[in-house]
Amino acid sequence: MARLLVYYAHPGHRKSPVNRPMAEAAQAVDGITFADLYRTYPRFEIDVAAEQERLLSSDVILFQCPLFWYSTPSLIKEWIDLVLEHGFAYGAGGDRLTGKTLMFALTAAGPEQAYTPEGYQHFPLRTFLSPLEQSARLCHMRFAPPYVLHSSLKAPDAGWVAPHVEGYRRLLIAIRDDSYDFDAAAAMPIVTYEALPITGER
């Protein structure tokens, strides 16, 4: 059993068609820790000690959020700025997160083909995530490929929300039960509900 900590961050939670059902599905999964960052810190006053405590008692840290301007919502950045302290997460004596896994579950408004040199986003999605990936590396953590839903604004009409939410639920359970194949995942740039590397399934 891996100790899974899910951080959910969405400033527009109430009107989110994809992230909200995802968050609700995550809350319904037993045996994991779910934290709604915008609900916990509505005034951006992060309790650093409590957050570090939470990190220490987890094996996998997963941030679920929408992609805002090729990055995370600002509260996650604030969280990173404050919680991943020098001497705790990195730098001299900063080895407390060693061996843990950092993962993101992202929704992107752009379609998959936009994140190509020919597409309007020009760069692959993973390129935009490189600051996060490097942050994990600096903190001696493994960075797992993100679980992504593209064209998220079209998803409700296209009928993608339900399978994406169900895939998210399966993903969280698999991580919890150690049946998520992080090694197989590492070979992929991103994972989607259509191809989740879960061992023992199918």
């Binding site: 700025d81 404050l82 302290e85 490097q134």
Partner: protein, 666 residues
């Protein structure tokens, strides 16, 4: 005097014992009163108490109830109800009358008697139904609204009925009655004995009554006037109620409010209701309808809740008395002699009325559980029935013996009504709730909010919430303040928010949040404590005057406590820091840190605080308090003022860096 005290004692005793028991058993207050009445009926018979005249006195409770119903109903809502009022109400009265008439004729009654019986039994009990619906909080439901429409129509329909019934007179009965004399009128004679204004002559004149304790006969403004003038006077009276109600009440109540004497306000409210009832009686209209209209006119007034809470106890007591007299008035000798027949007739009547209501509910698209509420709730005969029966006897329409039996049927059907409501509650409603539970739409502001006190504190809360589309109900004791609010279209009401009955009138049962924003610390604490005891489901946000007050409120069970000057003090401190040259964001962070430290400290101090002990004597508290932020003395800064600022500033910066930790970028 002795007799009056004895009567009051017996009635109060019966109510006080029976009603709480009935409520606890889930039977509702109405059944409790009815049972109390049955229980004391031998006693009353022993002392030869005139139950019927007490009943007619108590019927004034119905007048008050309709006033209160009117207060709840804005004119716009009444106008929206018109289709249901006329359609549903008209069809109910019409169809039920015809079917009962057919049944009576089938049982061998002549058509005129059958028609009178139909009219009498078509009416339902406003008192029982509205009281029960209010008690169960079903008044606003579709079924409740439909029921109310029908009851209101019945109230109106009584007036033409009273005009029609004398035309149905049986010659042979009229002969036996001889000249109209009170002694020969049986039930009617009792009914108008004590408080009413005399029976008078029922022959073709236009005096009318609807029976809600209204007078009938001699005192009249319109008797003897030509028809057109009568109509004019009647319309004039209605216009007077509307005009006086909407124009004159506000300055009058403002004038009274300044005195701040509660009893004068109660007296004024009673005066208003009784005055209208009197006026309506004088012009031959139903006092219940008149006060209902007066209520509607005042529905938008800021004094609405104050009026409600003042009239409500009188209404409650009078209605209770009325229900007791219904129970006590059941003639058990007669019932014993023909119980099988009476019971069959009663059940038949209920079944027939319920069937008509059910069909109408289908036609008017009253769905689900509401359809059953509507059908079962109105299936009894009502207090109008008593009055109409005495009226029919007096007018030689129905023979005395038949009237006696019908009286039993009416009373028995009223007695069975609470049982039907219990059937609805326990059996029918649960079947509909499972499928209908829908997810609340979060886009609509959910739950209602009451703000107690609209001064410098509550006003801000109100403005903020209103800006977001919520509609808080504001209760305040300052009539000038309220007038100002009213001009801006706020929902504001006059009254003392610390009074439970006013809170009740403002809808505390349906409220999810109460913001206590009044000035007086003792009153704040008292209200918070009362809320914790009486309405623990309501989230209370309370204003605290100072730190000890926070502890008092905490001890009272309040968990959302806002110190009234704390946040502004912090903001002033932050401004001072900025003016001293501290970087604005550092000043912000320092302010936040101060707030957080202080909050933590106050939680710790709350456990040490002893309300019985002056703070300076509480050593443990003082010790701890000395270590809270700001109380802790730092060594005075060396050097001049400017230097101190510079130092502080650097310290802040250093601390800030440490706190932030820096990231990979450094």
């Amino acid at each position: 005097m002795g007799e009056l005290l004895f009567l009051a004692f017996v009635f109060l005793c019966a109510g006080v014992v029976a009603v709480p028991i009935a409520s606890r058993l889930g039977l509702g207050s109405v059944l409790g009163y009815l049972i109390a009445g049955i229980a004391i009926s031998p006693l009353l018979a022993l002392f030869e108490v005139d139950v019927v005249s007490i009943q007619h006195f108590a019927e004034f409770g119905v007048v008050m109830m309709l006033f209160l119903v009117g207060l709840e109903l804005e004119p716009r809502l009444l106008w929206e109800m018109r289709a249901r009022l006329l359609g549903l109400g008209g069809l109910q009265v019409g169809c039920t009358t015809l079917l009962v008439m057919a049944a009576a004729m089938a049982l061998g009654q002549p058509w005129s008697v059958a028609l009178a019986v139909g009219l009498v039994l078509a009416l339902s009990s406003t008192a029982i139904v509205l009281q029960t619906l209010n008690e169960k909080g079903l008044m606003k439901s579709d079924g409740g609204q439909s029921s109310f429409s029908v009851l209101l129509f019945q109230d109106i329909a009584v007036i033409p009925m009273l005009a029609l019934i004398p035309l149905l007179a049986l010659p042979e009965l009229a002969d036996s009655l001889g000249s109209a004399g009170p002694a020969a009128e049986g039930h009617a004679a009792d009914s108008h004995g004590a408080n009413d204004l005399g029976v008078g002559d029922h022959g073709g004149d236009d005096n009318r009554e609807d029976g809600h304790g209204g007078g009938h006969g001699e005192m009249s403004l319109v008797a003897g006037l030509p028809g057109w003038l009568q109509a004019l006077v009647t319309l004039g009276a209605i216009a007077a109620v509307v005009v006086v109600g909407s124009v004159l009440t506000r300055p009058v109540f403002n004038f009274i409010a300044v005195a701040r004497l509660r009893e004068i306000f109660v007296a004024a409210a009673l005066l208003w209701v009784i005055g209208i009832a009197l006026l309506m009686t004088l012009v031959g209209l139903s006092p219940a309808l008149g006060t209902f209209l007066a209520g509607v006119v005042l529905a938008n007034s800021e004094y609405r809740h104050e009026l409600e809470s003042n009239i409500d106890p009188f209404k409650g007591l009078l209605l209770g008395l009325f229900f007791i007299t219904v129970g006590a008035g059941i003639d058990f000798n007669l019932l014993g002699a023909s119980w099988r027949e009476t019971l069959l007739l009663t059940l038949g009547l209920i079944a027939l009325k319920a069937a008509v209501l059910y069909v109408l509910a289908v036609i008017f698209k009253v769905d689900g559980a509401d359809r059953w509420l509507f059908s079962l709730g109105l299936a009894q005969a009502g207090e109008f029935g008593f009055v109409l029966l005495s009226f029919t006897v007096a007018n030689a329409v129905i023979p005395q013996a038949l009237a006696g039996q019908l009286l039993l049927v009416v009373a028995l059907s009223m007695l069975l009504t609470p049982a039907l409501f219990i059937l609805y509650d326990r059996v029918i409603a649960p079947q509909y709730t499972t499928g209908e539970a829908r997810e609340a739409d979060e886009d609509v502001p959910a739950g209602s909010i009451i703000i107690a006190g609209h001064g410098r504190f509550g006003g801000i809360v109100n403005r903020m919430l209103r800006g977001l589309g919520y509609e808080p109900v504001v209760v305040d004791y300052s009539s000038t303040q309220l007038e100002l609010l009213r001009t801006f279209g706020f929902r504001a009401y006059f009254g003392d928010a610390t009074r439970p009955d006013l809170l009740h009138a403002a809808g505390i049962e349906q409220t999810s949040i109460l913001v206590i924003a009044i000035d007086d610390r003792e009153q704040i604490t008292g209200l918070a404590r009362y809320m914790q005891q009486a309405h623990p489901h309501v989230h209370v946000v309370s204003r605290a005057v100072d730190r000890p007050h926070v502890y008092d409120l905490y001890a009272a069970g309040c968990r959302d406590i806002i110190r009234e000057t704390f946040d502004s003090g912090v903001r002033a401190g932050r401004s001072a820091l900025e003016a001293l040259g501290v970087h604005p964001f550092e000043a912000e962070r320092k302010a936040r840190q101060f707030v957080n430290d202080d909050r933590r400290a106050i939680a710790a101090l709350a456990s040490l605080y002893d309300p019985e002990m002056p703070i300076q004597d509480n050593k443990a508290y003082v010790q701890k308090a000395k270590r809270t932020p700001g109380c802790e003395r730092r060594p005075p800064a060396r050097g001049g003022r400017r230097l101190r600022v510079a130092r502080g500033s650097r310290l802040v910066t250093a601390h800030f860096r440490g706190c932030r930790g820096g990231n990979a970028g450094g």
